[in-house]
Each structure stands twice: as structure tokens, then as C-alpha cells.
């Protein structure tokens, strides 16, 4: 549905987007992830024909954004970071205007508008002026505006930014429900959002594409092939156990780890592509020791992300986990 090849956006002094390529299939819901200023908005603006690319090509539904912008615009629903609403208009009048602008036939104006208002839960405020609406409602009006002409592709730039947790939950549910009929790209710098809503992730950092994969695969990608082992022995020391572990088939390296008294802890790294947890367990039990713990170090998406973008991990208070309070 969306094809991007070698897309770049260069300005006089800096490169905002540098040689990005990816593709999105029909019906997919893709998270566009990256720290602030990574080039997410710029890429989206190129896809929506708002900005022309400096280099490379991008096509939406088979139409090139540069050569056939008109066809692309007909098939795209776009929600910029700030919902593009006119504060002096009422919700209903605004949506009628957008419907006309997007080329919805006159006979369907009323019904389409009613439909999207129901769908995006703004029907109860349809007569209100947009300037009187809360941020959450405005965001929903923005979403309604994006889907009013039933576009093939939805491009949502930080759809949940500035919302409270309850609204974030509702918006995510709404986006998921839209994924049935639309192909969706949404940008965010909030990881849980990608984990809960998207099937596929495209990570960019400083204008470059650093990873594109499914959420599951991306998580396992950061998985190192090491396991944590804790053993309780009848007096044998650290060195004895280490020796035993090193003899297990498939083990490459064993490192000592600090542990609680009476227990010995190790980090055992296996050969690549090999899971030797079974062998390790058997070896320990055979030696007559108690196997207290044996776990693989699976990364959370956040850790994978930090590893990939090379940002320093700041632990639990990282801006990436706090639900996107800006």
C-alpha cells in the first residue's frame, strides 16, 4: 500500500530524513517510532504530499507522491500533530466542510458526517464550537476529519499526544478498530503505544532508518543468547560449578555473578542459535545441586529500542515509559 524508497529530505543546514526505505502492506497498522526530532513528522509530511522529497520516491496506493499528488491526497486521511480544526466552527459544520473538501458527494455528506461522529464519539458535542472542546475531544474531531472520506491510508502524527491516560486508552481502541478497513501509519515516541496498537514497527533515529520489523521479532532481536543461572550447592565453590557448566554442550562462556549467600550465580552464554537451557539444567541436577533459577534475558521493547537507537538507558523514569506526558 505504501512504498518508500531512498526517501530523503534535506535542508540547507541539516538532513531531516536520510535515505529511508520501507513498505507497508494493506491493512497493516504500523508504528513509526523515534525520539523527538528524529524525522517522523517530516517523513509523514512527505507521504501526505505536504512536503516534496529532496531525493527518493514514495508511493501511496500505487501513486507517486510527487507525480500524482492529487490521486494520493484522495486516498489519504491525515491527522497532523495538532488537529487542523477551526476553533470558530461547530463540530458538525467543520466535518461537513472537510467532507466537501475531500470530495465526498453531496448526497452522502450528511450520512458520512453522522457516521464518523458516531465512530469517533463526538456525536454528543456536534453542535458545540470546537474552541470550547477539551483536548481529547479535539483530537477525536481530528480523527473524524481524517477518516471522513473513507481513505485507504491513514497517517496519524502522534495521535495520543497531550491526552490523559483514559483518553489515550480510548484513542488507541479507536485506532485499532479503524485498522480493519484502513492501512494505518502512526507516529509516536511512546513505546507502550506501539506494543499495544501496532503490528509492525519502523524505528528511525536522526533521520535514518534503524529498524523495521514486527513488534515480536523486534523484542526477540534484542535478546542476547544468555541465561541467568542460580545454583544451591552442598559446599562446592563457585569455580567447581563454573567448570561443570563450561563442560555442558553448546555453552560458550560462563561468567560469575553476584548472588545471595548460600547460592551461586552465573551468566551462561550459549553458542549462537542454540538454546542450551535443557542441558544446563540436566547437568546441574546430575551433579546433585539444586537448580534455583534459570531464566533467559528477554528484552522489553523499550530495552530493544534503546539498544537500537543507541540512546542511553535512564531506567524506569525514562520518558519512554511514562505514558507520554509531554
Amino acid at each position: 500500500m505504501i512504498q518508500v524508497e531512498g526517501l530523503s529530505k534535506k535542508y540547507a543546514r541539516h538532513v531531516a530524513v536520510d535515505n529511508i526505505s520501507f513498505s507497508v502492506n494493506k491493512g497493516e497498522i504500523v508504528g513509526f517510532l523515534g525520539p523527538n526530532g528524529a524525522g517522523k513528522t517530516t517523513t509523514m509530511r512527505m507521504l501526505t504530499c505536504f512536503l516534496p522529497p529532496s531525493e527518493g520516491r514514495a508511493s501511496v496506493a500505487g501513486f507517486d507522491v510527487f507525480e500524482k499528488p492529487f490521486e494520493v491526497k484522495k486516498r489519504i486521511g491525515y491527522l497532523p500533530e495538532n488537529p487542523p480544526v477551526y476553533p470558530e466552527m461547530s463540530v458538525q459544520d467543520y466535518l461537513l466542510f472537510v467532507a466537501r473538501l475531500k470530495g465526498v458527494p453531496n448526497s452522502e455528506l450528511k450520512s458520512r458526517t453522522e457516521q464518523v461522529m458516531e465512530r469517533c464519539f463526538v456525536a454528543d458535542v456536534k453542535g458545540k464550537l470546537i474552541s470550547k472542546l477539551s483536548k481529547g475531544y479535539r483530537q477525536r474531531v481530528g480523527l473524524a476529519q481524517a477518516i471522513i472520506h473513507n481513505p485507504d491510508v491513514l497517517i496519524l502524527d502522534e495521535p495520543t499526544s497531550g491526552l490523559d491516560p483514559q483518553q489515550i486508552k480510548e484513542t488507541r481502541r479507536l485506532i485499532k478498530s479503524l485498522a480493519v478497513e484502513h492501512t494505518i501509519i502512526l507516529s509516536t515516541h511512546i513505546l507502550p503505544e506501539v506494543e499495544t496498537t501496532c503490528e509492525k514497527v519502523i524505528i528511525i533515529n536522526r533521520g535514518r532508518l534503524v529498524a523495521t520489523d514486527s513488534v515480536e521479532r523486534l523484542k526477540s532481536r534484542g535478546l542476547s543468547n544468555a541465561v541467568q543461572v542460580q545454583v544451591e550447592t552442598d559446599g562446592e565453590g563457585q569455580a567447581t560449578v563454573r567448570q561443570k557448566l563450561e563442560q555442558v554442550a553448546g555453552v560458550r562462556k560462563v561468567l560469575d555473578r553476584a548472588s545471595a549467600t548460600g547460592r551461586l550465580a552465573f551468566e551462561v552464554e550459549s553458542m549462537p542459535e542454540r538454546d542450551s537451557r535443557g542441558d544446563i539444567a540436566r547437568a546441574i541436577v546430575h551433579a546433585g545441586w539444586n537448580l534455583i533459577e534459570l531464566k533467559s534475558t528477554s528484552l522489553t521493547l523499550e530495552e530493544a529500542y534503546l539498544q537500537i537507537t543507541g540512546a542511553p538507558s535512564t531506567g524506569e523514569d525514562s520518558a519512554l515509559v511514562d505514558g507520554g506526558v509531554q
Partner: protein, 255 residues
């Protein structure tokens, strides 16, 4: 064409739900009423004095009331027009709604024409107030109606032309005040260009005089539609709208 009207209609909606339209209408009604009262009153006084002294010269409503009224209104227009055009694009840029317009399946020309058309309609609404002032002249006198029609046409064309330039200025900034101030300065310059006629009659002066926006109103208010004036207005409108379209396109290259 549907797109042009869609945009123009939304724009008019904004004029009339915000105080802009009503403030402008009030100001214009007050000023045009004041001018038509002062001019008619002095006309009546002159004709009375003429009758009393027994040496009444030829008195003509068209030449002594309507023509001066038109030239005064033309100047009032110079002040009010930047207030109409300043918000057209500056507001969209500030609100971010320009992204909606530009990413919708409409051509840039349609956006520009829609915006400009709404401003012209807004300006025409002001001129409707003027008809009210003229109606008194028709009730109590019998002026020739043709110069009134051509005069209104001239005023409308002059407004349309300044609005086209004002629309262009509005695309260059996201600040309405800046757009208004620059628009006003431009209108003022175009107005006083014909003052250069007092410096003689060289070629430069004639060109400057031709470029001056008010010098083209005179023949209209006398009931004459001169092709020269018509071409001036139409080409200025074209220039303004052309620059606006180009500026709108360039937004994407620059931003």
C-alpha cells in the same frame, strides 16, 4: 469550482461568526454614512445659497455628491481592505489548518480563488451598506443611475485588486498583524503614487500615475468605463492571485 465555493463558503462562515464582519460593517456604515451626510448637506446648502442670491449655477447630484462620495469611499476602502485580507492565510498558518487544505484533493489555485472570492464577497457586503446611502439620493433627487453603477463597479474592482495583493501578503506570514500592516502600507503607497503628478509630467511620473490605484477610479465614478482602467484592475488582480498561488506552492519547498 465546487472546491472554490467550499473554501469561500467556510471563509465567509468565519468572517460572520467572528466579530470581524460585524465590526467592519459597523465601521463602514458609520464612515460612509458620515461622508454621504456631509457631502449631501453641503450640496443642499450650496443650492439654497445659490437660489437666495439669485445666481444659481448648474447643480448636479452626480458630479457634486456621488462622484466625491465615491472617491472618499475609495479611500475608506484602502483602510478597511487590509483588515479583510490579513487573516486569509496567516490564520491558517498559525492554526495549522493549512496542512488540512494543502493535503486535501484540491488544487492550490482553487484554495487561492476560494479565499479571494470570500474576501471580495465580504467587501461587496460592505458596499451594500453604501446602496442604503445612495437610496436617499434617489428618493429625494433624481441622479443619473449609470454613474452610480459604474462607480460601484469601480469601487468593487479596486477592492478586488487590493484584496488580491493583500491575500498574497497574508501567505508570507503567520502573523495577522504583520499581514495587515504590510497590506496597509502597500495600499497607501499605491494610493499616493499619483501625488507625483505635482512634480511635472515626465514619463516616470506618468507611469507612476498609471500605477496608482485611485487614479483609475475617477473615470468610473463619472460613468465612464475606460478599457485602460479595466485592464489595470484585472491585471493587478491577476498579479496578486498569481503571486499568492506561487507563494502557497513555495510554502512546501521552504517549510
Amino acid at each position: 469550482m465546487r472546491n472554490v465555493w467550499t473554501i469561500a463558503r467556510r471563509e465567509l462562515y468565519s468572517y460572520f461568526v467572528s466579530p470581524v464582519a460585524w465590526v467592519l460593517l459597523t465601521i463602514f456604515a458609520f464612515l460612509s454614512g458620515l461622508f454621504s451626510y456631509i457631502i449631501s448637506a453641503s450640496f443642499v446648502r450650496f443650492s439654497l445659497e445659490g437660489q437666495m442670491s439669485g445666481q444659481s449655477g448648474p447643480m448636479n447630484l452626480n458630479e457634486q455628491v456621488i462622484a466625491p462620495l465615491f472617491s472618499n469611499i475609495a479611500v475608506v476602502g484602502l483602510f478597511l481592505i487590509p483588515l479583510i485580507s490579513m487573516r486569509l492565510f496567516a490564520e491558517e498558518k498559525r492554526q495549522g489548518t493549512i496542512e488540512l487544505l494543502v493535503t486535501s484533493p484540491v488544487h492550490d489555485v482553487e484554495i487561492v480563488l476560494g479565499k479571494w472570492l470570500s474576501a471580495v464577497i465580504m467587501y461587496a457586503a460592505l458596499l451594500v451598506v453604501l446602496l442604503l446611502d445612495f437610496s436617499f439620493l434617489f428618493i429625494y433627487g433624481s441622479p443619473d443611475w449609470k454613474p452610480v453603477v459604474t462607480g460601484l463597479l469601480g469601487i468593487l474592482l479596486q477592492g478586488a485588486c487590493l484584496l488580491a495583493l493583500g491575500t498574497f501578503i497574508s501567505t508570507t506570514t503567520r502573523n495577522q498583524i504583520v499581514a495587515g500592516a504590510v497590506g496597509f502600507a502597500l495600499a497607501l503607497v499605491l494610493w499616493i503614487l499619483n501625488w507625483t503628478t505635482s512634480f511635472g509630467n515626465s514619463d516616470t511620473v506618468q507611469v507612476l500615475n498609471y500605477l496608482s490605484i485611485v487614479s483609475h477610479m475617477e473615470s468610473f465614478s463619472r460613468g465612464v468605463i475606460d478599457t485602460k482602467d479595466l485592464i489595470y484592475y484585472l491585471s493587478m488582480i491577476f498579479l496578486g492571485l498569481f503571486l499568492t498561488t506561487r507563494s502557497l506552492e513555495s510554502l512546501r519547498w521552504r517549510s
